[in-house]
Amino acid sequence: MSKALLNINNLKVSFFTPAGEVKAINDISIRMEEGDVLGIVGESGSGKSVTAYSIMGLIPYPGKIVNGTIEFNGHNIHEMAEKELQNIRGNEVSIIFQDPMTSLNPVYTVGNQIQEALFLHTNMDKQRAYQRSLELLNLVGINEPEKRLKQYPHELSGGMRQRVMIAIALACEPKLLIADEPTTALDVTIQAQIIELMMELKKKINMSIIVITHDLGIVASMCDKIAVMYAGKIVESGTIDDIFYSPQHEYTKGLLKSIPKLNKKEHEKLVPIKGVPVDMLNPPAGCPFAPRCDSCMKICLKRMPEYTNISDDHKCACWLLQKKEYEAATGGER
């Protein structure tokens, strides 16, 4: 196995709120090789963004890493000082956010905001940084780059602003680009363009990408691997084929049934997953999906299932796959 670019081990992140400890990330492990495109899917509140922020060392107050390690590109992110993290952010790992309309500062020009990243992490002079920002705008497919550099965010469309965000993220040629729901706020045709752009860029610059989304369509068109998150846990992970053609976890199956397919017949209705997401302040002791799962068994309510390795890449945490252990634990009783 080659050296991992990103290795997250048994990470737990909690928010210590006045109401109690919110276990936003509850024991997840992720491994990425250089050049991988990983999709993290899951419904809102499942901990996708917090995972992204953890990798950037940007967990917002009152959040904290409670346990586990994050190794990225030779750095131990989990134990680095803020000053050292600042050298990595925007340099070795970059992130683009959901809402391009609000992610750029309204009072500075596009050029200023791109060049800021360059001045921060390289020792380019003004002239060189200007050239580089022109290159970047060309790279992300923005026409009339000279003019755009002088414009303010409010003078650009949403799609254009997301391209600018990508240009900022790519300014220092990061090893890893995290895209946190990069197209959720954009309309469908622009979504497709942005996804295409990211895939093109990946080919041009050798970088890895994490795409965070609740849209399985995006994952299918971009990723090699998928991690399915539910209530702060990765309940299933595997290759595109594993997840789309032989999903194992009940939640993954539900997720697949809930997406529209072009070739679906009229009578095959979309089936939304019933029930409500888990209350993260008081998560259940066993499988977090138990309250919404049709196949839920007694043991599911009591203990969290271990991972079962279906193949080298394909893992799933569900008692249905742990027949032996389950029988040992319960003596065969359902």
């Binding site: 940007l58 500075y108 303010y152």
Partner: protein
């Protein structure tokens, strides 16, 4: 920009014209006259004086004469009480005194209010925030003449550490400036705190951090400029506040500025001086507000000057 300036100049002329007209007629509705206070002048003397200054003519005729001189010669006339003194000269001598006091007070309010508000926001709900906001609440509630009187009594009369009369040395500025800037400082710090808290939660602040900017840099570059926008909007009312505050504070501290001159012109019924100072101050306020608009446009590129 060109269209904006033409519009502003046109509206300024109309406003000043309206101010002049309203003031002129209001002035004559107030009982009393300029020569009554003189030690018991005979009716004949008064009549002679009134005739000399044209006060015996109908108000409308006086108004027409006044406006003619104002518009065609930019001449504000001569004072009735300070015989022979041109109003233009009085303003030329008195205004710089008020302007200096006012400018120092505005700068103080801005230079203290913005940092205090930012510090409060950054220490939200901690003791520093609570302390600053408590002082600010007090400042918001007390009018400047009360501040002036208390300061004068405590620092000038009881402790005798600061001068309370005139404006002849830097130390003389301390009490008047505190009196004038206390309320706006309090107001600006509250304004800044609120907008800073809003800005700190904005997505672009997250972007700034994700770029690798330090806390300090992202605050100074990305937060502050957005957070001061409401303060810039407040500059217009602030300037008006300082101007009217000057009237009172100059009176209390016996400062020979235009403000105290204005007050005495009213008690003296010195009609040309009332008109002159009013027109001058109205014009000044309008010009300052144009500068505020332009400053706002420079700080916030989204603003279109209309």
């Amino acid at each position: 920009m060109g269209g904006y300036i033409i519009k502003r100049v046109a509206s300024a002329i109309i406003t000043i014209f309206a101010v002049a007209t309203i003031t002129f007629f209001l002035m004559f509705l107030v009982p009393g006259g300029p020569f009554l206070a003189e030690k018991a002048p005979t009716p004949q003397t008064i009549e002679a004086l009134e005739k000399k200054y044209g006060l015996d003519q109908p108000v409308v005729v006086q108004y027409a004469n006044y406006m003619k001189r104002l518009i065609f010669k930019l001449d504000l006339g001569t004072s009735l009480k300070k015989r022979g003194q041109e109003i233009n000269d009085i303003i030329r001598v008195r205004f710089p005194v008020s302007a200096r006091l006012g400018a120092i007070s505005v700068c103080t309010a801005i230079c203290l209010g913005i940092p205090l508000g930012s510090i409060a926001a950054l220490n939200r709900e901690k003791w520093l925030d609570r302390t600053i906001m408590a002082i600010s609440t007090v400042g918001n509630a007390i009018p400047s003449f009360v501040v002036a009187t208390v300061l004068m009594y405590v620092c000038g009369v009881v402790l005798r550490i600061l001068p309370t009369f005139g404006l002849t040395s830097p130390a003389h500025y301390i009490l008047p400036v505190i009196s004038l800037s206390f309320y706006p400082t309090a107001y600006i710090s509250r304004l800044t705190r609120t907008s800073m808290l809003d800005v700190l939660g904005q997505d672009y602040m997250r972007t700034a951090k994700a770029k690798g900017l330090s806390q300090f840099k992202s605050l100074f570059k990305h937060a502050l400029r957005n957070a001061v926008l409401p303060v810039v909007t407040y500059l217009g009312p602030l300037l008006a506040f300082i101007m009217t505050g000057n009237f009172v504070v100059e009176r209390i501290f016996t400062i020979p500025g235009l403000g105290s001159e204005f007050i005495s012109s009213i008690t003296d019924r010195d009609y040309p001086l009332i008109m002159g100072t009013t027109i001058f101050l109205a014009t000044l306020l309008i010009i300052l507000n144009v500068f505020v608009d332009i400053a706002y446009k420079i700080i916030d590129p989204r603003i279109k000057l209309k």
